[in-house]
């Protein structure tokens, strides 16, 4: 547990939750990233601009962070091309089929005690932990 970063994790989490609370109180919407992205792929004219604007905010965030702190956050990925493609397809397809991801189900859904979100979060946490167990400890990827 030498890499445990409780303070930055808690502050980051509070920022994420505050963002979700704000959007809910202002516009009555769930802040689910897979749903917001999915709505861009199936455009309804009056509904696309705010989604793109939200995504622009996500994209600017690391740059703003870098400008303020003088250092960009680390992103360490050692997955090969095939694995990146397989993982992306599974995440994209799975989040639409299951109507949510870590934000819509994991944050907003648990916060409102939705039975569907509690179930979805339990299932994706379990399969993710199992996947890491198998790839790291059995296959040694």
């Amino acid at each position: 547990m030498e890499n445990f970063t409780p303070v930055s994790a808690l502050i980051g989490g509070l920022l994420i939750g505050t963002s979700a609370a704000l959007f809910l109180l202002l516009y009555g919407r769930i802040t689910g990233i897979s749903g917001i992205l999915g709505g861009v792929l199936k455009p309804v004219r009056s509904d696309v601009a705010w989604r793109l604007s939200f995504i622009a905010g996500l994209l600017i965030a690391p740059l703003l962070y870098g400008a303020v702190t003088g250092g960009l956050p680390p992103v360490e990925i050692d997955a090969p091309l095939g694995l990146l493609i397989a993982a992306g397809l599974l995440v994209g397809f799975g989040t639409r089929l299951g109507s949510g991801c870590t934000s819509g189900h994991g944050v907003c859904g648990i916060a409102r005690l939705s039975p569907r979100s509690l179930m979805a979060t339990g299932v994706f946490m379990a399969t993710a932990i199992l996947t890491v167990l198998v790839t790291r400890h059995f296959l040694g990827v």
Binding site: P6, G13, A21, L24, L37, G88, C108, M119
Partner: protein, 145 residues
């Protein structure tokens, strides 16, 4: 216009949360998911903090008939647990566990310029598009999350 501007600020705040908490770093996410290895519990606190703050929002929303700047709340109403929900969540979890990226952090990490993130996001969008080829179910669609 107000919606577009506030969506940007909400996205910015959300993205800053992902950056500050290091959720944009797949290695950090995998270290959290690796509970049988050298476990890093940090992301449990990200989830805890996010759920706590969001719950305050839902508690306030529960006492209001409408949001401040829109005519009505658009909160999913379905409560049934169906095969699509469980299968979808299971597939998502496998993909998340393979690389350590989920939709929010993947989009946010794009601007850090690593080719791996671009490949992942392109595949993720392809996966989302593939889903649209599936026949719709009889049940009323849940509002987008």
């Amino acid at each position: 216009m107000r919606l577009i501007a506030s969506a940007f600020l909400v996205g910015l705040l959300f993205g800053l949360g992902l950056v500050v908490s290091q959720m944009v770093n797949p290695a950090k996410v995998l270290a959290f998911l690796d509970i049988f290895g050298n476990w890093d519990p940090s992301l449990a606190l990200v989830m805890g903090g996010a759920v706590a703050a969001a719950a305050v929002g839902f508690a306030i929303a529960g006492r209001r008939s409408a949001p401040l700047w829109a005519p009505a709340f658009q909160i999913p109403t379905r409560r049934d647990l169906d095969a699509r929900l469980i299968t979808g969540a299971a597939l998502f979890g496998i993909g998340w566990g393979l690389v350590g990226l989920c939709p929010g952090p993947a989009i946010t990490a794009l601007s850090l310029g690593m080719w791996q993130v671009f490949v992942f996001v392109a595949a993720m969008l392809a996966g989302m598009s593939l889903f649209r080829l599936l026949p719709a179910t009889g049940a009323a669609p849940s509002p987008a999350r």
